[in-house]
């Protein structure tokens, strides 16, 4: 039963990935704007250089040929050559992936932990002042534009209090003689971006946790447990929270796609050298291969995250049948 379910989900994910590859390819083909923009803007470029560039990127070929070449290369893990950097897309993406993973990872962990705690407290103390405060905090952070929050945090923490640097990932060009110093530098640069992204996410996690927990608490078996004489604390810990965690897993997976949007803003504000920023640059420079590469990577990771969530869900929740 379970195996069948997993198989079905994997198959669905593969279909979605296939859709994404096709959509991805043609979306960037119909995009206006010439990929030779970078060269065109320079009065010192020669006609021959422009011609050669076209040739190099296979832009002279008809579109369907370009598509099959793209598919063929994709299977071999070759995402093409970046128009701007003139180096393989895989290399460019690889050099920018870690900063985003670290920043997003930390922010996710932080917001999940804090969000769940807040949600549990809120649900448990339903209707009290604590609940109202937690709820208002969640709704407010959920309503703030990410970039605006980032700018205000810079104004407060970097300019006002001078606690953290304004931007970047490490003090640029500094030579570190020991790892600890570097970690320290890294941590101080990470602080504000992670805080910004976490604040934006905490609200949603807290709200969802609160609601599902309240949902679970009204289920029949909860009443039964209560009738059996278990104390509230025990019920919440042993039964309610584990059950309420299930929807959280789905939410966290679905949020992956949304977080990428948040990182574009955060990386712009904090000059963070990650994928979001790279994607924005690629968009402005009409770097199709790079855009396609990033887009593909992001969508596939979101699809995989959802798949993992689905599978985990099916194993954790006894109610999910084949």
């Amino acid at each position: 039963m379970k195996k069948q379910y997993v198989f079905k989900k994997v198959l669905q994910s593969l279909v979605t990935i296939f859709f994404v590859i096709i959509f991805n390819y043609f979306l960037f083909r119909i995009m206006p704007g010439n990929p030779l923009a970078m060269i065109m803007r320079n009065p010192r470029a020669s006609a021959e250089a422009i011609e050669r560039t076209k040739e190099l990127f296979g832009l002279g070929q008809p579109w369907y040929m370009q598509f099959f070449i793209y598919l063929g290369n994709l299977i071999q893990g070759d995402l093409g050559l970046s128009f701007i950097h003139k180096t393989p897309v895989v290399e460019v993406v690889w050099s920018r992936i870690m900063p985003t993973i670290i920043m997003v990872g930390l922010a996710q962990i932080l917001s999940i932990v804090v969000g769940i705690l807040m949600g549990v407290i809120s649900a448990w103390k339903r209707g009290t002042k604590v609940d109202v405060i937690a709820l208002s905090f969640s709704l407010i952070t959920y309503s703030v534009p990410t970039f605006w929050l980032g700018i205000i945090l810079i104004a407060v923490f970097s300019i006002g209090l001078r606690l953290f640097p304004t931007s970047g990932m490490l003090t640029p060009g500094k030579t570190f003689y020991d790892t600890l110093n570097m970690l320290k530098d890294y941590a101080s640069h990470l602080f504000l971006p992670v805080l910004t992204l976490s604040l934006v996410l905490i609200g949603e996690y807290a709200l969802t946790m609160r609601n599902t927990l309240l949902d679970v608490l009204t289920e029949d078996y909860m009443t039964t447990a209560k009738a059996k004489g278990f104390d509230d604390n025990y019920i919440i810990k042993k039964h309610a929270i584990p059950n309420a965690m299930l929807p959280m897993i789905t939410l966290i997976a679905i949020n992956m796609g949304l977080i990428i949007g948040g990182t574009i803003q955060i990386e712009t504000i904090f000059s963070w050298p990650g994928l979001g920023r790279l994607m924005y640059e690629a968009l402005n420079g009409r770097d199709y291969p790079l855009l396609q590469g990033i887009f593909l990577l992001i969508t596939i990771s979101v699809i995989l995250a959802n798949l993992i969530a689905d599978i985990t869900y099916s194993y954790l929740d006894p109610r999910v049948k084949s």
């Binding site: 010439n34 042993k238 504000i269």
Partner: protein
């Protein structure tokens, strides 16, 4: 169980915190004098055959040397070539090279490198430097320290050739077919700075070349720091995170000028912002044909209050534009009082009236004799807010002359598409120019239509003069020709040169001394010379204050602790 868990957590926290603590008492190695310069555009490639960016030009000037460079008066000055002679018919140049120059990897620099570089560029026509070599037919090296360059006809801009000389011993191993993609990841040059590292999306680091033949620079580490926006860059320079930066907005300049220890300037740079018309009279042009009437173009220019726009949008940082070559250049042509089209709505209305453009239906828009209204699409670049604001003001005042400009905002890529396909009426953007006028004059030649030309302008006389000016060795004679070219352009108005807008730069004068503006009203950097990079000295060895990075660690340690607690909780439950 519970106490055990608590002990583990406590120990973890103490361990993590103590790690940070020991570090405070750890040995401090002497910090090099690092100059950090904030930039908003990343270098596109480390290969001079691939890069087309302004930052690339700046960096190659530091890593490499040309035969002849530019001094602090923007005059040609000996560099790799110590002196040079020109034969009587002005087609053969002999350059005598320095014999004390070494590449960064210790190999000696010789004439073979020059011949190799020039041959490579002439053979491939790649990159932003090959254009400087136009007209050269042969490069030879009679001995290790002499290079002879033969040209087809006299070559006026031979000494304004900033082409960097590349090391033959490195580049000879590169297959010529790969020139377009070979990344040159570890550039080896002869320049004042050596390449250290490039962190994509973060910074580019250069270090002083101890053996530089013109003397070691005072800056130990030179770091170009990439910013994704100018707003945090302005904050950073105030906080001392960076020592210099450019591309500020006028209000940022104002606030930086009040900062102690920071010198913020409005620097004259070679370049302009223009309104370009689609002046293509070819049948495949998709422009509104009414734009082919010079009277309409003149009327639009007359309706623009350039000074007001400059004052409001650019806070007056720059000057009102007239002709193609900026006034700082020797070749700038200033239109006479008769020719000049200053802001004058009445005159705009008058010349349109005389040319038969009359508003018959009373909707405020003039029409030609066939009843076609003077209505055009005005394309602006969304990411350049200054241009958008200027465009909005222009559309407002053109309406007063009975011309309707419909604004559309697009991104760079889309605009370039439109220009390529000739599918536009008018738009705003700008060019940066060289000391020598050839490259910018070339943009308006007929041969550049479909390539470099952004107005699809064509004029036979202009094309003739363009070829002619390249071969006139006497600057005064050449100036006359270049003046006539600009006069033609001004009269026919394929461009309305709106402003010569300044570059707003700031440097830290508390930490660094010896800054010089080049030219007198110009900038500290991005001014075509490497003078400041070579001559600026640190004030004294002061350790830069590091903002309390410990705080972050404490917070992160706390988060880790919470996470640990949480995980223990989970695990217990799972049992």
């Amino acid at each position: 169980m519970k106490t055990k868990r608590k002990i583990v957590i406590m120990l973890t926290i103490i361990m993590v915190l103590s790690m940070f603590q020991t570090n405070v008492f750890g040995s401090q190695t002497e910090e090099p004098d690092a100059m950090r310069i904030g930039v908003t555009v990343e270098i596109d490639s480390l290969s001079p055959l691939i890069s087309y960016s302004q930052i690339g030009y700046e960096v190659f000037m530091l890593l490499y040397d040309p035969l002849i460079s530019v001094d602090d008066n923007l005059e040609p000055v000996a560099n790799l070539a110590k002196d040079w002679t020109l034969n009587d018919d002005q087609t053969e140049w002999t350059f005598n090279l320095r014999d004390d120059v070494k590449w960064h990897d210790g190999e000696p620099f010789t004439s073979a490198d020059v011949v190799f570089t020039y041959d490579m560029l002439l053979g491939n026509d790649l990159g932003m430097y090959s254009g400087y070599l136009g007209g050269i037919i042969e490069v030879t090296a009679p001995d290790d320290y002499t290079v002879i360059v033969k040209t087809e006809s006299p070559k006026a801009n031979m000494l304004q050739n900033s082409c960097p000389i590349l090391p033959e011993h490195i580049w000879k191993d590169v297959n010529p077919d790969d020139y377009m993609t070979w990344p040159n990841e570890q550039p080896i040059g002869t320049g004042a700075f050596k390449f250290s590292e490039l962190k994509q999306g973060e910074y580019l680091k250069l270090v002083a070349n101890d053996d530089y033949f013109l003397g070691r620079p005072g800056i130990d580490d030179l770091i170009f720091v990439l910013y994704a926006n100018t707003d945090t860059m302005a904050q950073s320079i105030k906080l001392g995170e960076i020592d210099a930066a450019t591309n500020f907005s006028p209000s940022q300049l104002d606030s930086l000028q009040t900062e102690a220890g920071i010198e913020a300037i409005s620097a004259v740079v070679l370049g302009f912002t223009e309104l370009s018309f689609n002046a293509w009279d070819d049948p495949s042009s998709k422009a509104n044909p009414l734009l082919n009437d010079i009277v309409v173009r003149h009327a639009i220019e007359l309706s623009i209050d350039k000074q007001s726009i400059l004052d409001i949008v650019y806070s007056g940082q720059g000057s009102v534009g007239t002709s193609l070559i900026p006034p700082e250049g020797f070749y700038h042509y200033e239109p006479s009082a008769d020719e000049l089209r200053d802001f004058n709505i009445d005159k705009a209305n008058q010349i349109l009236e005389e040319a038969g453009y009359i508003d018959l239906d009373g909707d405020g828009i003039r029409q030609d004799s066939d009843g076609t209204p003077l209505e055009f699409i005005f394309t602006l670049r969304a990411d350049n807010t200054d241009e958008v604001k200027a465009g909005q003001m222009i559309a407002g005042s053109a309406a007063e002359a009975g011309i309707k400009l419909n604004i559309e905002t697009v991104d760079d890529g889309l605009l370039i598409d439109k220009i390529y396909s000739g599918d536009f009426d008018m738009f705003i953007w700008g060019w940066g120019t060289d000391l020598d006028p050839t490259t910018i004059l070339n943009v308006m030649t007929t041969s550049q239509i479909g390539n470099m030309s952004d107005s699809n302008y064509s004029n036979e006389r202009y094309d003739q003069l363009f070829i002619e000016q390249q071969t006139i060795m006497d600057p005064v004679e050449r100036q006359k020709v270049v003046w006539e070219m600009q006069q033609i352009l001004y009269e026919e108005a394929p461009y309305i040169i709106l402003f010569y807008d300044n570059s707003l730069q700031a440097v830290n004068t508390a930490k660094w001394t010896g800054w010089k503006r080049i030219p007198e009203e110009g900038g500290y950097f991005f001014n075509l010379t490497n003078y400041n990079y070579l001559n600026v000295q640190p004030v004294s060895d002061t350790a830069p204050a590091e903002p309390g990075s410990n705080t972050a660690l404490y917070v992160i340690a706390a988060v880790v602790a919470v996470a640990v607690v949480f995980m223990f909780n989970r695990r217990k439950k799972a049992k």
